[in-house]
Symmetry: C2
Amino acid sequence: MNLKKVGEDPYVGETLQQSLSKWLTPNDSFYVRSHFDFPKISKNEFELVIDGLVDHPISLKLDDLKKLPKKTLSATLECAGNNRSDLSPAVPGNQFSNGAVSNAIWSGVSLRDVLNLVNLKESVLQILFQGADSGETEKDNPHEPYLRSLSKDMAFDPDTLLAYEMNGEDLPIEHGFPLRLVVPGWYGMASVKWLTKISAIDSPFKGYFQGKKYVLKYTDGTQKPLEEIQVKSLITYPEDNSSIDQKKISIQGIAWSGRNSIESVEVSLDSGQTWNKAELVGPSEKYSWRHWQYLWNVPSDGEYTIMSIAKDTFGNNQPIESVWNELGYAVNGSKPVNITVE
Amino acid sequence: MNLKKVGEDPYVGETLQQSLSKWLTPNDSFYVRSHFDFPKISKNEFELVIDGLVDHPISLKLDDLKKLPKKTLSATLECAGNNRSDLSPAVPGNQFSNGAVSNAIWSGVSLRDVLNLVNLKESVLQILFQGADSGETEKDNPHEPYLRSLSKDMAFDPDTLLAYEMNGEDLPIEHGFPLRLVVPGWYGMASVKWLTKISAIDSPFKGYFQGKKYVLKYTDGTQKPLEEIQVKSLITYPEDNSSIDQKKISIQGIAWSGRNSIESVEVSLDSGQTWNKAELVGPSEKYSWRHWQYLWNVPSDGEYTIMSIAKDTFGNNQPIESVWNELGYAVNGSKPVNITVE
């Protein structure tokens, strides 16, 4: 994999800065965040069980899924802990810089089409997803699988996918081969990898990765489970702490916001005092990041602090400063880039 | 490469049927049509010369190009000879079935931004593009390079690219490493691979690959050079001559039309007597094919001939029958798929 290693056992890696400038992230450059070791699943032995509060529990082979209508969409996934290392004071967890975000084209079937095969009972409140990966969540805890739930509404959203292809290839093992839930617009923890079981349940799921982790815990005591990716932008060129000997610089970056489109990106060349509208460029797909650029005629040699902020079509503004929280999630403040023009 | 070989010396291959069902064609599955052997160009030695009727001829390294604003778009390329083997009577040339069409995400710079570096003289009419590949165009002809021109208008279209990335990777050698002209919406012959020279000229270019080949020559004597890709659709599932033991079949396919969007696709289940509107699904990008599907409740076992036709937003209709022409180009008639339901 073409990544910057952030953690081991299980492997965690973030996308390299030079790959963030690509609209499509190649599979081997797509950030990896797992909770347990990658489980090896053979394509032929794979079975997806759908059970719980349903009229007819079923089990589907990969070929059964491939006979259902194929659905393709592009979606940017971001790890909830991306940019965690920007927080001060520091918080525990994988110390991601800004590379735990990537964009791919996912193909599979609508989860809805699969749920419609089993007839849910009226009492169903949530759908629970189980990965084939398992282990200790904390030292000396019993082994348990990776589990996350979605509300019935989100589960029946036609864009919630059971994906078997990523960028036209079979899913790589580190991204959930052979089947992964993809919840477009939500932080990556919702997109359960190595999916092997789907259960209809009648009460809110409160397991480790939903009740204890992946919760925003603010200093005032309020708590909120992580769901939709917050509006954010990054500068991908120039690099932080670089020197440039040009007077015309094409500042480039990316911006994204969960299930909303990006409305505008503004760039500051003076540490945030004044702001200039950037041009949005490249593919414009609902759940994917948008490229932007700003052609800057540098007035004179010197040191500059460049910043960017994005706004989405729902009126959400990227904050200048990230809001500190105990576990370091949803860190979306403007990330300054310092350069020297000489 | 993961292709069906169609020709040798130089290698020609078409995309496999199972890969046509993917919105994004992975690089190793993208059809290959070349006119001469692949030239090997080293990244460091590469230079792009821009000369002819310009104030300041220049030569650019790859790194110079990468400092210009980066432009990304997705585009479907189709070889002008795709589906040539459907014509009757047969015509000479590579006998493509329907796989000489693929879709990728291309990144590079606007050709316009590069041309603006040199100041064209007023007399300039066309821009000529030269590949590093060369050879005999016909037996005993002198060696010559691959050459194609564009009108000034097309050359200055902001979407005409000098691409150095394909699906987020460096261009593979067979697709023109390190630099390829990409003319979105035009048949593939316009997207000159291994681009090494761009010349501003003041008369229409009439070379071998523009005046003699890649010309529609109809039986009534009319001739027309190939430019924009004609509206077309294909069925990607089920496969031709297959047997299916299901009564609910998700018919799937692709449709595309040069620089226009697809407005609708219709599917016939009775050899073209009656037509049903298909659903357009997946990414909708200006220059890329669109996926479509039609859920068919099969009335009874038997043999069926399935067909599809597309219409674009400009009002162009895909014909039922292809129009025969001497060199077998732009073959875009509806391609029937025969299946047995049992």
